[in-house]
Amino acid sequence: MTVSLQTTSARPALRVGPVSMVLQPAMLLIVTALTAITLGLLCLDIAVGESHLPLGRVLDVLTGGGTKAQRFIVLESRLPRALIALMVGLALGLAGALTQSILHNPLAAPDMLGITSGASLGAVAMMVAGGGASTGLAATVGTPLAALAGGLLTAVAIYLLAWGRSPSGERGATGLRLVLIGVGVNALLLAGINAQLTRASLADAQRAQLWLTGSLNSADSAHLGPTVIAVAAVAVVALGSARTLAALRLGAETTRALGVRIQTQQAVLIGAAVVAASVATAAAGPVGFIALTAPQIARRLLRTPGEPLVGSALVGAMLVVGADVASRTVFPVDLPVGVVTALFGGPFLLYLLVRMNRKATLS
């Protein structure tokens, strides 16, 4: 039921110096709407809490007004948390779109590949073995760094393990093998996390478990700066490679003919996805299913052939911020945001699987 008339000659183009792109009004409209919804949810996320603020008051404070007490509540305590939710969503959406495009598999998200588990193992090991530090340097810097290191190490290990010759004689890390090896490594890492939990004191285990569920409760304004920088860097790399991603969709042969160094580009893009996923995990714990569902929702909304980068990031942000709002309003108990995302992400995943199988048997 698309409205747009796709007559190539009639498509208006936007040109800024050497960069040119086709203007697609429908797409632009949807992206604008997504941005607006996300920003609205962000304000709502700031408004709800122990003391509810009216939305107008929130906007008032954000634009420089409000009383001193209101300014404290909004700017000091709620804005950092909401912004971290936003960043986590952007990062996960981006990471999912990158991995799914490269591996040609809607299920190949960082959660499935074990990267999130690697980051989690790093962080839990820090919480449990690092003297159980809940405050101070080890907690504010150590845990995120350990998560980042864990995610990166896992990704390198999976990539090396998947390296080899594919059945068609192609050298490199092929999609199918990469996914299966990720699943295997994921199981190993989960065993490691469980083993860490049995060795912790009950208090440490509880703290680690809360973190493992994906919670914004411990979101700290100290994490905000590094997270924003990392997400921005990844976004620049990813958007710069949007053309390569589009080419990769046409298959390895065609891509090579178009002059793309496939292995190098793939490694760079997967690297960017891993950094994004690890940074998000470091900031809020493993918030499940966002990296997996956001690109698929974005693809369906925007009707693009592959997973759109900007759209996926926006949908990811919308989902995480929305889940954070829901976790504090809809449910009787204060659920961690990761539980809410799993609640709607799980069924969506099954729907994807069923769809994928249908398609596989039709082709």
Binding site: L176, N194, A195, L197, T213, P336, L350, L353, N357
Partner: protein
Amino acid sequence: MTSLATVRRRRLSGLLAVTALLLLAVVAGIAVGARSLAPGTVYDAVQHALTCPGGAFTCAAGSTEAQIVRGLRLPRTALALVCGAALGIAGALIQGYTRNPLADAGLLGLNAGAAFLAALSVYLFSFSAPEQYIWFAFAGALLAGLVVFGASAVGGGKASPLSLVLAGAAVTAFLQAMTNALVLLDASALDAYRFWVVGTVAGRDAEVFWQVLPFLLGGMLLAVVAAPGLNLIGLGDEVARGLGVHVGRSRALGLAAIVLLAGAATAAVGPIAFLGLAVPHLARTVTGPDYRWLIPYSGLIGALLLLIADIVGRLVVRPGELEVGVMLAALGAPFFLAFVRRRKLVSL
């Protein structure tokens, strides 16, 4: 005909060898630990335990060594033996019915399903003993299995190895998140859960063994009954139907056996990954594809591997120990990875 005779001889000699190894492992399982016991002491203690009137696990206290053997090592070894056998057989059945070389109760989400419903029942009804939550574990394994098989088989009968494993991973991730949320609500549930979810035979008393034994034996019996039908189903549903197999009934029988075996073993010792995956492949190298041989072999090799993993776990980080679930993940993951790398991923 000579080749048939060779196969038969190999199967029989293999059976002898595995049984002998299993006996050795049982003795080692009783003797090795934080306090290792001399073979003579073990023999005396076991003999005393087996001949005493109150039953092997519960008779009156003797020396410290005898207490260790009766109170700790015997129940632990017995539990490892039956649960290992159950998981091995469940693995063989799952691989047979799905015709999928990568199938395993852990990878397909059955463990996570059992874990979730067991945790839910513990939270809702404050259960503490496996006999209370075992029914929920069964139901969880069954539901997760149905969802995974259903989701991966939609749209054309046979599920590909990839889609089955991915469906399992997806369902596992979902159930894991739900379980995590559940144990967060209740600190005491978390304390029990974290020692169960890691997968261990340590610290389980004889009660647990007796509680799950009937279910495991029932599951093994069903597996033996299912074996001949499974051989024919291996030829494809059409052929099997042509040969007079009621395919639907045979699948239901298999699913019941799988749920009984994997559900009860998981309820007793926690989720154990990779055992069910590796065991049938090891067994197949000796028996070939005949499930009438493959199933008993898988049981023996599963028991052997679980026992060995448990014993090695007691030795590697003395005086502490590594849980058998962690040991098997550490041993099984490389097997899985090598398997994915080496073999072309064809269906069985």
